[in-house]
């Protein structure tokens, strides 16, 4: 293996009352990798993301984030969602959660919030520093929109976008927070084959920019084509891990998917 993983999870457990949604999960992501997390519905994948990003407080286990290029390791446990984002971990949501009454551009501008500072007085007096910051926010947000192919609809309300475009906007918004690790929760859900292909290309581009990606996805073709490594979950437990070719022929995985087509 390579150097220290940028994300290392050990023994992560999450109980909801009597339900154990995550059961002593271990997982690691290394710099520059695209790692997929797959498993049947209800396996606990989204819960896993929610624990990572501070939305749920895990019952037990450790989450260690190590920024690439010699950053110090930090535990994400007990951090609030916004603090997790500040540390360089951004996510999208399976059930799209855009700010629907804001424009596409503004949605991305929100992502810049944690990297900028202007506050009450800056807003009122609009001094030079604030104006410069606002300009940077707009320029950078627009550049990100160009990257995901939404620059043409920058001034539309987010709610008026097509489903596929909304998913890409979620990615754009997450990118605006300057993460080094991006968590994508079923980004291809509801996309047509052509949109999925564009998504494939977008994820590769993001990866080429040096970001690591942890991807939850049901579209096996996409998963097999993108991933360096795959983790498989069922009932909150990890049942397999390995490179795509190993996963494809793993009997436990085939069984969990109950005859679903696993090969690409």
């Amino acid at each position: 293996m390579m150097d220290t993983p940028i994300l290392k999870i050990s023994g992560l457990t999450m109980d909801f009352g009597g339900i154990r949604a995550l059961n002593r999960l271990d997982l690691d992501v290394h710099a520059g990798e695209i790692v997929a997390l797959i498993g049947p519905n209800g396996a606990g994948k989204t819960t896993f993301f929610n624990c990572l990003t501070g939305i749920y407080a895990p019952t037990a286990g450790e989450i260690i984030l190590t920024p690439p290029q010699g950053g110090k390791s930090i535990s994400l446990k007990g951090l609030k969602p916004n603090q997790v984002t500040e540390k360089g971990l951004a996510r999208t949501f399976q059930n799209i959660r855009l700010f629907s009454q804001m424009t596409v551009l503004e949605n991305v501008m929100i992502g810049r919030h944690c990297r900028t500072r202007a506050f009450i007085l800056g807003a009122i007096f609009r001094n030079a520093a604030t104006r410069r910051e606002e300009r940077e926010i707009v320029e950078m947000s627009y550049a990100i929109l160009e990257k995901v192919g939404l620059a043409g609809v920058a001034n539309e309300f987010a709610k008026n976008l097509s489903y596929g475009a909304q998913r890409r906007l979620e990615i754009a918004r997450a990118l605006a927070t300057e993460p080094f690790l991006l968590l994508l929760d079923e980004p291809a859900a509801g996309m047509n084959p052509q949109e999925t292909q564009e998504l494939d290309r977008l994820i590769r581009e993001i990866s080429d920019d040096g970001l690591s990606i942890l991807l939850i996805e049901h579209d096996m073709k996409l998963v097999m084509s993108l991933s360096d490594r795959i983790f498989v979950m069922d009932y909150g437990k990890k049942i397999a891990q390995g490179v795509p070719s190993e996963i494809r022929s793993n009997p436990a995985v085939i069984k969990a998917y109950l005859g679903e087509e696993v090969d690409a």
């Binding site: 609030k80 700010f99 800056g122 001034n155």
Partner: protein
């Protein structure tokens, strides 16, 4: 829907109304002759009136729905008259300048009574803009806004009464105290949303009022505080008429400053964070926005304006007591925000003027004025639930895909 079905529903509605209004409209007890008079003809009037009203409303609703189906809501909003009017900055400033000129000339061609009414309306404009930060932008339903208004009013009344402090000295103190109370209220309700938040803030408003009513040594209880000084003008003693005009001009100034500040806040990093918080709290946090800080700032900034206007109120009336700070005040200010269109500054200004001035000028209708007022409000919310002016978002123009040039 078929006409017959609507007729049937209308019939039921009118029967129900006859039943509801029966004790009021039909039965009349004559205490002198000691008889009960049955005015059956009234039941008929109510039935026919309700039936016709029902048909009219149904017809209008259907027409509105049919129109909504053909064009999307957003396009309709963008096309609205006022939006087109302020679309170009030149027209906007021209319009603003004209309105300002009228506002400045107003006291010269109206009685002091009318100037006074107008001052009250302007106060509600500022109150509405303040609450608009909390409810309209940050989406925190605050039903106890009047508490901060009371804090401002009582800080001036008490500081003036005990220490002889003047209006200008207390103005920032009143605003500041109210802002601190905003944070005090904010902390316990950080985790609450929607209905729960509304109930707690409602309770907070009532608690403040009850304290003022019952803590006699502190606030002089229900009898209130009188002889509060009017605002000074470089040590000049103003007579009553001059003082009314002076406070009117002060309110114009305060309103302009408030509009300026709220406008800038709305179009800033902080304002965007508020709106994001209103739209989706979890996504907002996941985007790196500190929910606690953003909410507390919204509460305290909103409260600040209430405090300022509280001070003005005490100075204007020279007498305050807890009866001025009931839930009804909070409800009116909230109605201004909702009627204006959540988050829309022009909408709030218009709504405040309408809501405060309409009952005054409906006085001609004497006893029916509050009824007419209520009917107008209900009709408004049925036919334009997004408020008078739907909020439009700022658009940016990008030249040749690079180097964004901005336009507001």
């Amino acid at each position: 829907m078929s006409l017959l079905k609507e007729m049937k529903k209308g019939l039921f509605t009118s029967l129900w109304f006859v039943f509801l209004t029966f004790p009021l409209m039909v039965i009349k007890v004559d205490p002198i002759e000691r008889v009960v008079r049955w005015r059956w003809e009234n039941a008929l009037y109510v039935a026919v009136g309700t039936f016709l009203m029902y048909l009219l409303v149904t017809f209008l609703m259907q027409r509105k729905n049919a129109r909504a189906a053909t064009e999307t809501e957003v396009d309709a909003d963008r096309e609205s008259f006022i939006h087109r009017l302020i679309a170009s900055p030149r027209q906007k400033y021209l319009l603003g300048g004209a309105l300002l000129a009228v506002a400045i000339a107003f006291p010269f061609f109206s009685s002091s009574y009318q100037t006074n009414v107008m001052t009250t309306a302007l106060m509600y404009v500022v109150l509405g803009l303040g609450l608009n930060i909390v409810v309209g932008m940050a989406g925190l339903l605050d039903l106890g806004y009047v508490a901060f208004y009371a804090v401002g009013a009582y800080s001036y009344a008490l500081l003036n009464h005990h220490f002889g402090l003047g209006f200008w000295a207390v103005l920032p103190i009143g605003g500041g105290l109210a802002a601190i109370f905003g944070i005090l209220l904010g902390f316990p309700v950080l985790r609450l949303r929607g209905d729960y938040l509304a109930i707690v803030t409602l309770g907070f408003g009532e608690i403040i009022r009850l304290i003022l009513e019952n803590w006699g040594e502190f606030s002089k209880g229900p009898s209130g505080i009188s002889n509060i000084s009017r605002p000074g003008l470089f040590g000049l003693e103003l007579n009553l008429d001059a003082a009314i005009i002076y406070i009117y001009y002060l309110m114009i100034l305060f309103m302009i400053v408030t509009i300026f500040i709220v406008n800038r806040l709305q179009d800033s990093r902080l304002g965007r964070a508020w709106i994001a918080l209103r739209e989706d709290e979890i996504a907002c946090q996941a985007m790196g926005i500190d929910k606690r800080k953003t909410k507390l700032v919204a509460f305290s900034l909103g409260a600040f304006w209430a405090g300022i206007i509280g001070v003005v109120f005490a100075a204007k009336t020279t007498f305050i007591n807890p009866a001025s700070f009931t839930f009804l005040e909070s409800a009116i200010i909230l109605a201004i925000v909702v009627l204006g269109g959540m988050g829309s500054i022009i909408g709030v200004i218009l709504a405040a003027l309408i809501l405060i001035l309409l009952p005054e000028y409906l006085r001609a209708l004497s006893e029916y004025r509050m009824l007419a007022f209520g009917a107008i409000l209900v009709a408004m919310m049925v036919f334009r639930p997004q408020g008078l002016i739907a909020n439009i978002r700022r658009t940016y123009i990008f030249e040749k895909e690079k180097s964004p040039a901005e336009k507001s």
